[in-house]
């Protein structure tokens, strides 16, 4: 375990310096060059112009407010989708009759276009916050359920039998035998879900909310403010990557430790 950690640490930094940073800079240069070639700042602004726009919106407080509003929606919808999706997925994965009866419903839900649920929720519940959250949850929960179902199906039967023979309490089995096996599925669905959730939240905001990144993008679209659209998108991408790097991945490493240790 110690040897593996020692091997890993010195490698990570050079990797990041050697590849990720240069390739990121190359992307910026490519953007700068193509913007200069197109030479139409309104249609395709340079990175610097985008940064400047972003800075202006940051100073007025608008950017931060929109980010906060959107993130709050993402967080709430993400929570409900994970809870609902996990419950459904585990139920289907553990019970064959349930899966036989409701598995088909899940397939339908998985293939329901996001736009349809969003429009229907707005029509049925009005242009409200509830409708927005419900729409995102309904879009995201089936993906979580599908991944959790696979995880629940793959539970080690032999180990469950052993705990049964020894008369281990339900709580201990759940805590020490079932959940550790479901953790990888839970994190996989959280990852897949996070990216999906924030994309759907933007659409929901664009279609029927008076604030948030999605709403701002619609406003910029109305005024053909490309720099604004890019600035807001980049700010949001930065936040999502930060969450991925500093929250999701560390949690994933922690729960997967026994596989590689």
């Amino acid at each position: 375990m110690k040897a593996a950690a020692a091997l890993e640490v010195p490698r990570r930094r050079p990797d990041w310096l050697r590849f990720k940073l240069p390739s990121f800079i190359a992307l910026l240069v490519l953007w700068q060059v193509s913007a200069m070639l197109i030479a139409d700042p309104a249609l395709f602004p340079t990175p610097l112009a985008t940064l400047e726009t972003g800075y202006l919106h940051l100073m007025t407080g608008e950017l931060l407010f929109s980010l906060a509003v959107t993130l709050a929606r993402v967080a709430v919808a993400f929570f409900f989708a994970m809870a609902l999706g996990s419950a459904i997925g585990i139920a289907l994965g553990r019970s064959q009759p349930m899966d036989a009866i409701f598995g088909g419903w899940l397939s339908i839900a998985l293939n329901m276009p996001a736009l349809v649920t969003i429009v229907l929720c707005y029509v049925w519940f009005g242009l409200s916050e509830t409708a927005a959250i419900v729409a995102v949850t309904i879009n995201k929960a089936p993906t979580v359920a599908a991944i959790m179902r696979e995880g629940a199906r793959a539970l080690d039967r032999q180990l469950l039998e052993a705990t049964q023979v020894f008369g281990v309490s339900r709580w201990k089995v759940l805590r020490h035998v079932v959940l550790p096996q479901l953790a990888p599925s839970f994190i996989a669905s959280a990852r897949a879900g996070l990216a999906l959730t924030w994309k759907i939240v933007l659409v929901v905001e664009l279609l029927g909310r008076p604030n948030g990144i999605g709403f701002q993008i619609r406003t910029f679209f109305n005024y053909f403010d490309i720099a604004g659209i890019l600035a807001y998108s980049l700010a949001f991408i930065a936040i999502v990557l930060a969450i991925e790097n500093f929250i999701v991945q560390p949690v994933e490493r922690r729960t997967g430790r026994w596989r590689t240790a």
């Binding site: 039967r157 032999q158 039998e161 052993a162 049964q164 020894f166 596989r259």
Partner: protein, 268 residues
């Protein structure tokens, strides 16, 4: 101490695979009374249903006909060693043991790990141990359960002979000190004759009991002594008709889906 009675146990498995059409009967009309505190070994050729018999007693098999009854009106506390170690790969050895024990069993768990010659490995993860070490950890776990009934499915297989010898004498010592009822499946006649108070041999094909002998001899025993040698000869005579032992399977008969997971437990 708790005894048990098996009444007319029959177990049939549905046909498996495209070629087979008939169902397979592994146990047929097995009736046995096992006295409290007995040490019973079950021998027989591969595929005869020895593991299935243990699973039925343990309450893991629900497809059998017949009845299992306890001498007292309660479920016994069971400790079991399966053919596979069945340790949780994400828990250290000591945590695997403590998972099945009541709180405050740490000191006893460490003592038992010492007994099975795993002292110092308590914080290792199962995958860091060899297959034999994992089996010994599983044995320590079964003893930690303070069982009224100890079910052992070839617990000492794949251990080197001197270590197996030591663990056999530990097992007899444990049995004499605590007097649990033990049912042990083994392929090893010498083991059966040296350890147990009763040997039961299952017959191939019919799935019935071919031999049932009580061994009222004191421990330690030596198979070179006349009484032991006679019983050993009898068992070897009986086994002359048995099909050649297969070293690969036995899991397949009872829990077909289990073997993959078992291999995973052994190889990661």
């Amino acid at each position: 101490m708790i005894g048990l009675t098996l009444e007319g146990i029959t177990r049939r498995f549905p046909a498996e695979g495209p070629g087979e059409t008939t169902e397979k009967t592994v146990l047929q009309d097995i009736s046995l009374a096992i006295e409290p505190g007995a040490f019973v070994t079950v021998v027989g050729p591969s595929g005869v249903g020895k593991t299935t018999l243990l699973r039925i007693i343990a309450g893991l098999d629900h497809g059998f006909q017949g009845r299992v009854a306890w001498s007292e009106n309660r479920q016994p506390k069971i400790g079991m060693v399966f053919q596979e170690p069945r340790l949780a790969p994400w828990l250290s050895v000591i945590d695997n043991l403590l998972l099945i024990a009541a709180p405050g069993a740490r000191a006893e768990a460490l003592d038992l790990l010492d007994l099975v010659e795993l002292a110092g490995s308590e914080n290792a993860l199962p995958r860091q141990l060899s297959g034999g070490m994992q089996r010994r950890a599983a044995l320590a776990r079964a003893l930690l359960a303070k069982p009224d009934l100890l079910l052992l499915d070839e617990p000492l297989i794949s251990l080197d002979s001197t270590r197996a010898e030591r663990l056999r004498s530990h097992l007899v010592g444990y049995w004499q000190a605590r007097k649990p009822t033990i049912v042990m499946v083994t392929h090893d006649f010498v083991e059966a004759v040296e350890l147990s108070s009763r040997v039961i041999a299952l017959a191939p094909e019919s799935g019935r009991i071919a031999l049932d002998r009580t061994i009222p001899l004191p421990h330690p025993r030596r198979v070179t002594d006349p009484a032991e040698a006679a019983l050993l000869d009898e068992l070897r005579d009986l086994a002359r008709d048995w099909p050649a032992p297969s070293h690969t399977t036995e899991e397949g008969e009872a829990a077909p889906r289990a073997s993959n997971a078992a291999m995973r437990l052994l190889t990661i």
